[in-house]
């Protein structure tokens, strides 16, 4: 039976790899989920077959509760709340790894079992990463859910304090590796890791959450991987490494999209320093009514819509789909330009638009569509701000200088739906709004788009 178990593990690992491979296109992605589910089922069956398992009442009760909690989460969670759910599941995954590590540590001590050094190193890494990712993800979840302040929380010598804490935790970890019988150190070690997770995330602003989520994803994967080393289980090593590398790639993509480095995201406390920068003088701008906007859109032959998270806050996804449908019926070519950091986690905006039934071949990535703005008649910006700010290209003094942006300013006409002229989240004024070809459409995104739709049919007489 033990042999059968390890062969099933190999199949299961192959299925996990295939599962991620099939995610490369929406056409095969659902097959990928099925492969993942099968792999998971096989792994659990193999584990139960290959080992004598006792205490079934505990295990089955936990399975029952987990399933009972998991199903409603998956079906009730609105798509706007997916980032919070993701942060929560990083917390759950990391907690599971940390607790298994803790239990294993105490078990070995009780049985006076001498664990090899590398197993102890793996256990220490597993619990350290697990506990800090647990509290860190809870903090990220609180910020995304807006129960915690989104602005960075800072205090004097923050980085020095955090570094010292981490150094003490690491030092205790090393001590545990060499003297594992000092079990009294373990709770202090775990407590410091939990505390460090909190302190690591509170100084990070809401705008940086996409990077942070991806990074926490990577940590959660690595702690599962460390568990694999500790338990001598290759399947855990493979699955953990896949998750770890996925989180790493996503966080690199997010950092590039904001022209930031990891150190800058983690220790920079972005979004706080710039508030004074925005004290610009009153500059003239043009505004337009829904009726004027409708006639311009109707006369256009190509329109690029640039959605930002503001669109989702206003719940205007369905209205924007109606607008794009009715424009397309009039022969207007409509595309959506998606900046990598639009939304609150990697790829979030795509999901929000897909939920509103916008076909995915209308959604264009930044690099693929930037060349098209120069030929497009109207660029319609809704709820996006910094990702359209031309200062990122030209103004060296701007805090967002160097960040890749959507070249909205190259379109023949630019329309921006916005509540007021107030600067956005990062507090940076946007030159785009003051260009001669820019029309500001003031109002709530959902209400304004519905008004444009209402103005449209009258003109064609459909």
């Amino acid at each position: 039976m033990a042999h059968l178990g390890s062969y099933l593990y190999i199949v299961s690992a192959a299925l996990f790899i295939l599962s991620l491979k099939w995610m490369n296109s929406p056409a095969t992605a659902r097959r990928g989920v099925f492969a993942g589910e099968t792999g998971m089922l096989l792994a659990i069956v193999a584990t139960v077959l290959a080992n004598r398992i006792f205490n079934w009442e505990w295990i089955l009760a936990a399975f029952f509760i987990g399933t009972a909690v998991g199903i409603p989460i998956a079906y009730i969670m609105p798509m706007t709340a997916v980032p919070q759910r993701t942060a929560m599941s990083h917390a759950c995954g990391a907690l599971a790894a940390a607790l298994v590590g803790t239990a294993e540590f105490y078990r070995a001590d009780r049985l006076h079992e001498t664990l090899p050094k590398f197993v102890l190193v793996a256990l220490v890494l597993e619990t350290l990463l697990g506990f800090l990712t647990f509290t860190g993800s809870l903090m990220a979840m609180g910020k995304l859910q807006e129960v915690l302040p989104q602005r960075p929380i800072t205090y004097r010598n923050q980085n020095a304090v955090n570094f010292t804490l981490f150094a003490i935790a690491a030092g205790l970890g090393v001590r545990l590796v060499f003297v594992p019988t000092d079990t009294w150190i373990f709770p202090i070690f775990a407590g410091l890791a939990l505390l460090f997770g909190v302190l690591l995330i509170i100084p990070i602003g809401g705008a940086d959450m996409p990077t942070v989520i991806a990074l926490l994803n990577s940590y959660a994967g690595l702690s599962a991987c460390a568990m694999g080393f500790a338990l001598g289980n290759n399947l855990l090593v493979v699955a953990g490494a896949l998750d770890g590398s996925s989180g790493l790639i996503l966080s690199i993509i997010m950092c590039k999209a904001m022209n930031r480095s990891f150190t800058n995201v983690l220790f920079g406390a972005f979004g706080q320093i710039q508030t004074s920068h925005a004290q610009a003088q009153q500059r003239p701008y043009r505004s337009a009514s829904a009726e004027e906007a409708a006639s311009i859109l109707e006369a256009a032959s190509s329109v690029i819509i640039v959605p930002g998270y503001g669109l989702a806050v206003a719940q205007a996804q369905h209205k924007i789909r109606e607008l794009s449908d009715s424009l397309m019926r009039r022969g207007v070519d409509v595309k959506f330009a998606i900046h990598p950091v639009a939304g609150r986690m990697p790829g979030h905006m795509n999901v929000l638009l897909a939920e509103a039934d916008i076909p995915y071949d209308r959604l264009w990535e930044m690099d693929d569509i930037n060349g098209e703005f120069a030929q497009c008649d109207v660029a319609l910006v809704i709820g996006a701000n910094d990702v359209t700010n031309p200062a990122a290209r030209t103004d060296k003094s701007s805090p967002i200088f160097g960040m890749p942006i959507l070249d909205v300013d190259k379109a023949r006409t630019v329309m921006v739906i916005k509540r007021s002229m107030n600067p956005g989240f990062a507090g940076i004024d946007n030159d785009l709004y003051y260009m001669d070809k820019t029309l500001m459409l003031f109002g709530d995104a959902k209400a304004f788009v519905s008004e444009i739709i209402k103005e449209l049919p009258a003109k064609v007489g459909v």
């Binding site: 987990g66 907690l95 298994v100 399947l235």
Partner: protein, 96 residues
């Protein structure tokens, strides 16, 4: 298990992971993250071994119980929500 074998597996899996994930369309990055999340809940295997060990102490059972609950929540909600999201991605239907 031999450390060098585990490191070998880790090295290969990391490279495979990096190559495979790099090819995932940015369109699907959110479902990708919830899928990898569900997959990394494979730590349920470790939790089952801890909880189900012969002569497990109360501490092991309680910690293992919480760990299994957390991991199963991730497995169930992770796979289901990934599928729910993927169902929304539709190609344009040819109407005209």
């Amino acid at each position: 298990m031999d450390l060098s074998i585990a490191l070998f597996v880790f090295m290969l899996a990391t490279f495979v992971g990096l190559e495979v994930i790099r090819k995932v369309s940015p369109l699907l990055h959110t479902p990708l993250m919830s899928l990898t999340n569900a997959i990394s809940a494979i730590s349920v295997v470790g939790a089952i071994l801890i909880t189900g060990a012969q002569g497990a102490t109360m501490l092991s059972k309680v910690l293992g119980f919480i760990a299994i609950t957390a991991a199963v929540t991730n497995i169930v909600s992770g796979f289901l929500i990934t599928d729910r999201m993927l169902k929304m991605f539709k190609k344009r239907e040819e109407k005209k």
